[in-house]
């Protein structure tokens, strides 16, 4: 098997938080252009996977390997992974008071450009792009001036995450429950945002609890993550099955240490 055609390759990954094993032997391979949905019960480790991949402090890799575009992911700092094209849309986006969205986004875009040996984007060009991105996710342009997530409603925060994705043009987008807390219209906006970004060069991991989103974003694969492992993979029809039957038929046993704890 040639690695060249693989964007992300996760091999037997074990990872822990606060000395607690959360990811317990996870394998996943994503080719450029693919959309993978990850579903699974609360506490299964879906968000943790996103954090481990993006290099959040406190999330320790115990064993296994991950490569992004052929490079060892764990050799890179958090910000280097981001500049290499890894993007995480947060399940709970945090506020940065006083730092305007525009300023924050431009600094992000410039950081990636600089890493690629490009010059900083001009303010005028960036403003134009940012305004377009606002329109796409249905946020008023005034949000560019507001502090990052400052006082945004839950749905606005999610759309703001998506706007950042549109501007950063990452290679691998991990969307962690970007659909939760959204009204029906917003759900379509998010789906359209994602669909418009689908291309041969861009892959997605879409973490969701709802089949609903997958009606709009047609995934190539659906995986069930349970107790730190992928316990079942299939195509889009798996999501329908899960919606109808829940997770219990997959018979996941709670880990022993959890019973003790």
């Amino acid at each position: 098997m040639s690695n060249e055609n693989v964007l992300l390759s996760i091999k037997d990954l074990h990872a822990s938080v606060e000395e607690k094993n959360i990811i317990k032997g996870l394998n996943l391979e994503i080719k450029p252009g693919e959309v993978h949905a990850i579903m699974g019960p609360n506490g299964a480790g879906k968000s943790t996977l996103g954090y481990v991949l993006s290099g959040r402090e406190g999330y320790e890799v115990d064993s296994g390997s991950v490569s992004l575009g052929g490079e060892d992911l764990f050799d890179m700092e958090t910000e280097e992974r981001a500049r290499a094209g890894l993007f995480l849309a947060f399940q709970y986006p945090v506020e940065i008071p006083g730092v305007s969205n525009l300023e924050f986004l431009k600094a992000s875009v410039d950081a990636t450009r600089e890493a690629n040996g490009e010059e900083a984007i001009t303010s005028a060009d960036f403003l134009k792009q940012a305004k377009e991105a606002c329109k796409k996710v249905n946020l008023p342009v005034s949000f560019l001036k507001r502090g990052v997530n400052e006082g945004f409603s839950g749905g606005e925060k999610k759309r703001n995450e998506l706007m950042q994705m549109l501007l950063l043009k990452p290679k691998l987008c991990i969307l962690d429950e970007t659909d939760s807390g959204l009204d029906i219209d917003a759900l379509q906006v998010v789906a359209e945002g994602v669909n418009s970004q689908r291309s041969d060069e861009r892959s997605f991991i879409v973490v969701t609890h709802y089949q609903r989103l997958l009606d709009y974003i047609k995934p190539d694969y659906v995986h069930v993550l349970s107790d730190g492992k992928i316990v079942k993979s299939g195509d889009a029809s798996l999501a329908l099955e899960l919606e109808a039957q829940g997770y219990s038929w997959l018979q996941t046993e709670p880990a022993e240490d959890e019973l003790e704890g």
Binding site: S54, G55, R56, E57, G58, E77, T78, E79, A82, R83, F87, L88, F90, P93, V94, E95, I96, P97, G98, V99, E103, F104, L105, A107, S108, A111, T112, A115, G147, V148, Q164, L168
Partner: protein, 478 residues
Amino acid sequence: MTEQIDKALAREYEAGFVSEIESDTFEPGLNEDVIRRLSQIKGEPEWMLDWRLKAFRVWQEMEEPDWAHVDYPKIDFQAIAYYSAPKSMQDKPKSLDEVDPELLRTYEKLGIPLIEQQMLAGVAVDAVFDSVSVVTTFRDKLEEAGVIFCPISEALHKYPELVKQYLGSVVPTKDNYYAALNCAVFTDGSFVYIPKGTRCPMELSTYFRINEQNTGQFERTLIIADEGSYVSYLEGCTAPQRDENQLHAAVVELVAMDDAEIKYSTVQNWYPGDEEGKGGIYNFVTKRGICHTNAKISWTQVETGSAVTWKYPSCVLKGDNSVGEFYSVALTRGRQQADTGTKMIHLGKNTRSTIISKGISAGKSNNSYRGLVRMNPGAKGARNFTQCDSLLIGDQCGAHTFPYVESRNPSAIIEHEATTSKVSDEQMFLCQQRGLDPEKAVSMIVNGFCKEVFKELPMEFAVEAGKLLEISLEGSVG
């Protein structure tokens, strides 16, 4: 994470160099003879010497205050030299061409070129080096508008009536220990007079530099804005990196006559001492302004330097409808200690004051806000709004607020809001996940926290202030 942030904040002190300049410096020590010599060197009139000596006697009777939330060894006032001036300044250079090039280079290195063509257009500078003013730029242009901007030692000769009338009128000699000391031994500083109905055509600024070892700097600034006039003034300060502590005890007096407005901004970057708290400037400063009817005084300060800061720029709102403002950013790290804030004294009817204070503490530093809002019986319908925000970086630093409120008029309204927050791991992670390195992330978060204050600074200096908080990238990531 905290460690990383702290490292990121550990920027180098870029102004820490020493200039090789031959100086005439007094022997350390303080007595009446020293004051007489000082007054003589400056060729002061008799009344000025008497004023100084009176202050000295008052000071000798006073006790060093100990109520501030700062801790430092007792200062030996006999170990300080009270006057130091570059030799080349002895025969008062008439123009820039006659000024010692080394002095000019010093200011250039600090980013303050004194050659007018190279300067920021629209900013006139008075450069004070140790105890003397080296040069004041754009004087001709200002004179055309009738604006006086010169060293206070020169004003004593040229405008003795103005100086005599206003010196000590806002901060009386007895006001406090350091103010009394300053009255006795002050050396140089700026004098500004804006005539009636005049809008000062340029930003005025004074740049204070301490260079000589073991000397204190006792600057004295007096700004008078006559009726209906406007001026924006900025001061900056730096000092070499030394293991010994040095004392800076300044007095600044502002007089805003009816309908006048004074905007006074400070970017304070005195040497803060090293990581362990060795060396650094003791910055004990008294700043106060008086507002007559409909007048406005606005203090904006960005305090990032000094080992110990003791400073409360204040407004006496004497005239009806007068306005006082205080916008402050104080950043402490390492072992720095800051006790700073303001006093808003409401005397007139419908007087208004706003206080926005942003304290950022990192490392093992201590950062206190101390503020007094007093509504006198005559302050009918007066209002104050105070907001004190503290941002903590790490868990070994301290942030404190000491708000004092005295209301003697039931119609006065006083509002106070306070928050304490931390630079969180989540915020850092969000920034890094978007490709920013930790240094950039911290400076961005801190700058965002200070935004309300920065927007009050004159444009040219907002950038400089932002940079001061910005962190040099080299070697700061572990």
